[in-house]
Structures are given as structure tokens and as C-alpha cells.
């Protein structure tokens, strides 16, 4: 036992630290349920902001949703946004302070239900912002109601017998639509259920923030996520459920890369 302690003391030295809490994260325990994906994504954003050295020029727009208190956790300037309006708020910020890096952080209810118009139009204008989209197929904050991305058959508090297409409509694959908007620069779908996935997601978020410095259009990162409370499973089961049920409909990977579309196709014809 003493031997083990000795050995650990040897390893646990500042110079051997290879992964710790990001300095851009505040020392506040997050209010999220145990195992919630929000926490992982917060961490990645903080890490990227730290890596890129843009803490002093980044403005976050926090949504209405479980991440409503995001401003308590990531140590940057933040603006709240009413439910669904984060892309409009971010547009206002970015247009008025074009030298800043502006990002929104939104859930599926926020981004793909009430905020559909703001989402589509901000991206179609090619606003030079980053959008982080937490798709957990449910309204976490309000207690687990159906979200636009809820699967058919999935049980939520407003689809207690499973989502039914006639009663409730189809799941909305909004990221697929977004990828087709000419103003989108980079659109990718990631996940954070394994360490490998987390590393890929971090890369994607970093790329989004990097591209955003070049003002080449909207960078959009969907993270397929879990909401174990809403789903009424434990965090580990939730990950399995997500892999099994959500990935087929929301396959991971890049959907668009390379900046806004050329304007040719959208112009008046030459005289």
C-alpha cells in the first residue's frame, strides 16, 4: 500500500500533468446531471478557447435550455439569448464587433424548434459565427419533452407512448439542411461518448473556431449527445442507446467544408 502511494507520488508531479481542467473553466460545479454531455462539450470549448488564446475576444451566446447557465462555467464574456434566438443575438454581436469571435451554444429544442428561422437565416446570411448544437433528442431543461430530433418510437414526457409520425411528425435532420445553405462554411456532426470521439469533437470545435477567425461563413458543429435524465437511463446506458439508435439517423462526420458558396449562382445574369 505504501509502495503504491510512493509510486503515485512519483508520477503525480506538475511536470507530468498531461491533462487537467482547462484554465478557461471556472471553479464552479456544473449544475448538470451526472454524465451529461453538456459538461464534456463545455470543457472542449474552454480548451479550444485557451489553445487559440482567444479568451479576451470571444463572446458566447448561451441559450435557454439546460445550458442556460453556461456563462457560469466558461470564463469569457457571455450574452444570454431568449429561447431560440441565439443566432440573432450572435448576429447582432458579430455585426457590431466584427473583430470578435462569437459563438452560440444551443440545444435541439432551441436551435431546431422555436429557433428554426433564426438558425436558417443566420447561416444563410453566412454570419461569421460558430454554432455549437447539442442534439440530445429531448428537451432536457423542461423535464424531457419531445424535441424536433426525437426519434420515432422514442418515449418522452410528451410522447409517453413513443413518438408517432402522424401525431408528432418526423425527426428533423436540420444539420443536413444547414449543410446545404450557401452561407455555411463548415458543418460537422460529432459525438463525445468515447475518448476517441471526444478527441475528434475537440478537433472539430477547434477547426470551427479557427475558421471563424477567417470570416468565411458560419461554422456549425453538431454534437450528438445524451440526456440520461430525460431518457431515464444511466449515463453508460445512454451512450449505448445513442450509438444504437441515434447514430443511424444522425451519422457522424463532416457534412460541408471549404467555406461559403461562391456567389456566381446567386447573381443576376450578366447583361
Amino acid at each position: 500500500m505504501a509502495e503504491v502511494a510512493e509510486r503515485l507520488k512519483d508520477i503525480i508531479k506538475p511536470e507530468n500533468l498531461i491533462y487537467g481542467k482547462s484554465p478557461v473553466l471556472n471553479n464552479v460545479t456544473m449544475h448538470y446531471c451526472p454524465g451529461c454531455s453538456h459538461g464534456v462539450v463545455h470543457k472542449l470549448i474552454a480548451e479550444v478557447i485557451d489553445e487559440l488564446g482567444i479568451q479576451d475576444k470571444t463572446i458566447g451566446v448561451s441559450p435557454v435550455g439546460c445550458a442556460v447557465f453556461a456563462y457560469n462555467y466558461i470564463d469569457i464574456d457571455w450574452s444570454e439569448a431568449a429561447h431560440g434566438r441565439a443566432p440573432a443575438v450572435a448576429t447582432g454581436i458579430k455585426r457590431i464587433m466584427p473583430e470578435k469571435t462569437v459563438f452560440t451554444y444551443q440545444g435541439d429544442g432551441d436551435l431546431a424548434a422555436i429557433g428554426t428561422a433564426e438558425t436558417m437565416h443566420a447561416i444563410n446570411r453566412g454570419e461569421n459565427i460558430v454554432m455549437i448544437f447539442i442534439n440530445n433528442a429531448i428537451y432536457g431543461m423542461t423535464g424531457g419533452q419531445m424535441a424536433p430530433t426525437t426519434l420515432l418510437g422514442q418515449v418522452t414526457s410528451t410522447t409517453p407512448y413513443g413518438r408517432n409520425v402522424d401525431l408528432n411528425g418526423y425527426p428533423l435532420k436540420i444539420t443536413e439542411l444547414i449543410a446545404q445553405l450557401p452561407g455555411a462554411a463548415y458543418v460537422t456532426r460529432q459525438s463525445v461518448h468515447t475518448a476517441a470521439a471526444v478527441r475528434k469533437a475537440r478537433k472539430a470545435i477547434r477547426k470551427a473556431f479557427e475558421l471563424s477567425q477567417q470570416n468565411i461563413g458560419t461554422c456549425f458543429v453538431e454534437v450528438v449527445s445524451t440526456c440520461n435524465s430525460g431518457w431515464k437511463m444511466n449515463p453508460v446506458e445512454s451512450n449505448d442507446w445513442m450509438v444504437k439508435h441515434m447514430f443511424p439517423l444522425f451519422p457522424l462526420g463532416d457534412l460541408k467544408d471549404g467555406g461559403k458558396d461562391k456567389t456566381d449562382g446567386f447573381n443576376l445574369q450578366p447583361q
Binding site: 479568451q55 479576451d56 475576444k57 470571444t58 463572446i59 451566446v61 448561451s62 442556460v68 447557465f69 456563462y71 470564463d75 469569457i76 464574456d77 457571455w78 450574452s79 444570454e80 439569448a81 431568449a82 434566438r85 440573432a88 443575438v89 450572435a90 448576429t91 447582432g92 454581436i93 455585426r95 457590431i96 464587433m97 470578435k100 428561422a117 433564426e118 437565416h121
Partner: protein, 361 residues
Amino acid sequence: MGELRLMKGNEVIAEAAIRCGCDGYFGYPITPQSEVMESLMAQRPWETTGMVVLQAESEIASIHMVYGAAGCGKRVMTSSSSPGISLMAEGISYIAGSELPCVIVNVQRGGPGLGTIQPSQADYYQATKGGGHGDYSLLVLAPASVQEMHDFVALGFDLAYKYRNPVMILADGVIGQMMEKVELMDQRPRWTDEQVKEITGSWATLGKTKDRSKHVITSLEMDSHIMEENNLRLQAKYNKMKQEDVRYETILCEDAEYVLVAFGSAARICQKTVQLAREKGHKVGLLRPITLFPFPEKPIEELASRIKGFMTVEFNAGQMVHDVKLVVNGKTKVEYFGRMGGILPSPDEVEQALLQKLIGG
């Protein structure tokens, strides 16, 4: 003296915005005020003062763009007309709750619903009693001339920043569409980054530097005790407005036995009514609230104790009349006369109502 021009009320809003150094305008077309954005777009201020002008996808997006930009300590505004203002109700409540300064112009048309595009003053309640949810107040300015449409833009920003509170310019289709001679202010520069930092640096989202803790623009507070404090702080601010920023105009009230109370274009009509009535020997005056919130309680209270009666004249079913009654508190008669649906009463029609309801009765 500044440059003289003959301009529409709506156009002058745009001109005044550029000249007073406004940083940004976000809006969506709606009659009778679409010329505001059209004039801005025609002027291309982004090439001169650097002012941002953006046509949003809706009034909802507009007001939330204002939210974002105002949170950066920039002087931004939007304009719309009645139905569009209703759509902003949630956003305005958020702006008030987050204590963001900005200017919102409502060039009123007749409601409810789609109603008519003709002029109206039926959004008085909405403007002064909070169309959105929760306890909040806008500081509401009611211009009665194209010149005031001009002046109140700069004044609006000053007051908005004085109180960190949204200011509404409550105009109507008459003032929006009317052309009058207006003296334009000289072009003022927009605030420099340094000025913005000096004025708003304690709260605006300008980017968190090492030397300060983060700024958060929010109206959210889950701790009831802190939330109540926030509410009390707002109320204290509104009380301060009542102390320091009541504005009104009186015309021939010194010796008046009867006083018309009217704002905006209704007050213009009443001005002539006063003239007509005086010509016939009736001692009539006019009190024109310029700030609808804070409401000019003192002058009304003073008059209440010595005149024979008030009559409000409104292009609505009788809204401001209740604020007058609240102040008068039974001390003298308070009547209301109004027209609706876009019909504008003529000065002699008002005179007749005055005779019937007050002087004759």
C-alpha cells in the same frame, strides 16, 4: 443653425440615427415605417460613419440582434409598427430585464390584429404598461412633430444610456408619413472603442480581459432573493425617471379652465382646437405629455386642483385617460374623446366634443 430639410418623419429617424452616431439598426419592413430602413440603406452609413444596417428575417430576429449588439455597449436601435412591436414583446422584456440601453421606434397603426395601416395611438398601454411579461417599464417618448422625431433619437440614446433601459419612441402613421421642415443636427462621430469602454466597460460584453472578471448579459436569476433585488433595482430606476426625466409641454394652461391632454399627433390637432376654442372665448389649454412613461403627474396634479376639467384626446378607445384619472384622483372631471380605425378627428370635431363633454355639460 443646423441644416434645414423638408423630410418625412420616418426618413428623419434614419437621418438622425446616422447623425447622432448610432452604431447599428436592425429591422424588418412594415407599413407605415418602412422608409426608416429604406432611407438607411440608401445612405449606406456603413461606408461613412461605420453604422451597421441589417434587414433581419423578422421583428423577432431584429429585437434579438438589438439585444446582442446593445449588450456590447453599442448604441443600436430598431423600428417597427404595432404588430411588429407585439412580436418583440418577449425580446423587449428580456432587454428591460437585462438592463440594456437601446432605442425602439413604434410608428403605430390601427389594431387589433392586422387591423389597418392607418394611424393610431392604440399601443399606449402596450408601451407604458409593459406589453411583455414581468414588471418593467420602457421610457416612452411621444414625438409630435418631424423635428421631434429627429430630436428624440439622440435624446432617446442619451436616456437609454443614462438608465441602461430601453427607450421607446412612440410615434404614429401621421408623424411617420408627414413631411415638415427639420433642422438636422451636425454629424457626430460614433463612440470610439475607448469611449465605449469608458462608458459601458463595467458591464458590456467586450471580451473578457485578464484584468477583470467576465461580463454576462442576462435577465435570469433563479435565487428568488436576488431576483427580487433585481426587480427592486428596476423599480428604483423607474422612480428615478419619475424624478428626473418627466417631459411635457403646456400651451395656454396658465389661465385655463379646461385642459386637453393629448400626445403625439393628437396633440397637434388639439393645438388647433385650443385656438378655435379660445377664439370663441373658452379658456382652454393643452397639456402634452412628451414622456408617456414617466407620466407627467405633477403638472396634471397641479392643474387638477384648479381647473374645471380635463379631456384626453386619443386615437384609441381611451387609454391615457386612465393615467390622467389616476393622477387627478377625483379632484376634477376627466373625460375622454377619441377616434379609432385610422380616422383622425379634425380640430373642430375635438372642439365640439369638448363643448359637449366638459364645457357645455
